[in-house]
């Protein structure tokens, strides 16, 4: 299956989101790929509120089975969540469980006005009733559950998508 070019998708995603941005719009990236992507979108869209980042390790629903994910990072939301319209950014949308965890964490900071989800790729395989409002690319055939699709950041900041076979 051809893996789309990440840089082209970022440009497309930026164009999708732009018409919906207001002065109040805030953005939160989900570690790790979502944060790289959010940094690019945040800059391209010229959002005025500082970018938020989240590690959803403490909210994951597989903790009981797999334990704590190694080396979780600090979540930092440097704006007031209460009343803000927020765009939640992740690189790849898959089961929807990460989004669920992110929503739970976000609400522990306050009650946002609305939350939209923006992703680079929808790889299919949803296990929860979750959909993204902004999607740059939807894979026609879902990837096998054993494989993983990830965003990678090069030293110069360029982003690429990589398919990893287990």
């Amino acid at each position: 299956m051809p893996i789309p070019d990440a840089e082209q998708l970022i440009a497309a995603l930026t164009d999708q989101i732009r018409p919906h941005v207001t002065a109040d719009t805030a953005m939160v990236g989900i570690h790790t790929g979502g944060v790289w992507l959010a940094k690019r979108l945040h800059a391209a869209l010229g959002l005025s509120k500082p970018l938020g980042v989240m590690d959803v390790a403490f909210y994951r629903d597989d903790y009981g089975k797999k334990g704590l994910h190694p080396s979780p990072r600090k979540s930092e939301i440097p704006f007031d969540v209460a009343g803000a319209p927020i765009i939640l950014v992740d690189d790849v949308l898959y089961t929807g469980r990460t989004t669920r965890a992110a929503l739970n964490e976000l609400f522990d900071y306050g009650r946002p006005a609305r939350v939209d989800l923006a992703v680079l790729v929808d790889r299919g395989g949803r296990e929860l009733p979750i959909a993204a409002r902004f999607v740059a690319h939807t894979l026609e055939t879902p990837i096998a559950p054993t494989d993983s699709l990830q965003l990678e950041e090069a030293a110069d900041g360029a982003l690429t998508l990589r398919l990893i076979h287990a």
């Binding site: 590690d55 390790a57 403490f58 909210y59 903790y63 009981g64 797999k66 334990g67 704590l68 190694p70 080396s71 979780p72 990072r73 600090k74 979540s75 930092e76 969540v81 209460a82 739970n104 609400f107 522990d108 900071y109 306050g110």
Partner: protein
């Protein structure tokens, strides 16, 4: 001899002591604690990790402060917390420690946070749980006799790392009643494991354990000599009953010789930090001017303590 606090695959199953724990696990706990520090600043100061779990704080020896920090940590992780002051209930009725524990297991405990006046009591509990096939229940030692107080040792390491970044270029002094101190034993074990090149203990001969040098420390009896050029001063609490056992003549003389005053602290590095596990005896082991001064990091220690205990509990519960 199998280390009772590690599982077969080398993961932390209980936290009983810091002695013998690999550096990688100590560092992992400190790393995991870091993101927990931010939870206290949120609107909802809670994480769902221990949702539906029951944490039993079993204190065979009174300690409001330690029990409270464990309680806050467990509650921030959404656990149900049950506090038991066993010193005042069942053991006075003749029930044995293991009977008490079996009863609490039957009530659905997932984790025990235990304090006991006897060194090694949490080992008995951990071994009993293993022998009775209840490996899923973990034990956190909240202080046993003179032996260990691992979460205090860890929060002290977190504090040092927060202010000094690197352990491998530090000189650290532990001052006071090392003999009776579980905190000192845990601190010394952690400092030497994390690579602190010089750990000093300072105190009178009556309050230092036999062969203390074998723990990897340099012994000083003269406080002024011992404090010269140190980066970290870790004070220990002096209990009043030490005067009865012919270990010390008086708290006045103790303060004069081993109390931390601004004048003695001036011998340490200018940016040295001063730590104390609390509760402090002002005018006995520490001068108020130091306790409230710019070098003291005693209150941040308490804050970090909650994050460190959250880290330990979430590592243990997720197995």
């Amino acid at each position: 001899m199998l280390n009772p606090q590690l599982s077969k695959d080398g993961k932390l199953a209980h936290l009983l002591t810091l002695e013998g724990l690999p550096k990688s696990i100590l560092t992992e706990i400190l790393d995991i604690a870091a993101p927990f520090t931010e939870v206290g600043e949120r609107e909802v100061k809670k994480l769902p990790l221990l949702r539906g779990k029951s944490v039993f704080n079993v204190f065979f020896e009174n300690s409001t402060r330690t029990r409270t920090t464990f309680e806050i940590a467990a509650k921030r992780l959404s656990a149900d917390v049950i506090n038991l002051n066993v010193s005042t209930s069942s053991t006075s009725k003749g029930e044995t420690l293991l009977d008490t524990v079996d009863n609490l297991c039957a009530m659905g405990a997932d984790m025990f946070v235990m304090r006991h006046a006897s060194s090694g009591a949490p080992y008995l509990l951990a071994q009993h749980l293993r022998a009775t096939g209840r490996d899923h229940i973990s034990v956190v030692n909240a202080g046993d006799g003179r032996h260990a107080h691992p979460t205090q040792g860890l929060l002290d390491m977190y504090t040092i790392r927060h202010y000094k970044k690197d352990f491998t270029n530090l000189t650290v002094a532990v001052v006071g009643d090392v003999l009776h101190s579980r905190v000192a034993r845990s601190e010394i074990a952690a400092l030497t494991t994390l690579g602190v090149p010089e750990v000093r203990v300072i105190g009178p001969k009556t309050l230092l354990p036999t062969d203390v040098e074998r723990m990897g420390v340099r012994v000083f009896h003269d406080m002024r000599e011992g404090l010269k050029g140190v980066d970290v001063v870790m004070m220990l609490r002096l209990q009043n009953e030490r005067m009865q056992g012919a270990l010390l003549p008086s708290s006045q003389e103790y303060f004069k010789v081993w109390g931390l005053t601004p004048e003695k602290l001036a011998l340490a590095k200018p940016d040295a930090i001063v730590m104390h596990p609390g509760p402090m005896n002002r005018g006995v082991e520490i001068d108020s001017a130091v306790a409230d001064g710019g070098n003291a990091v005693i209150l941040p220690q308490v804050t970090f303590g909650i994050a460190v205990r959250m880290a330990v509990m979430s590592m243990l519960a997720g197995h």
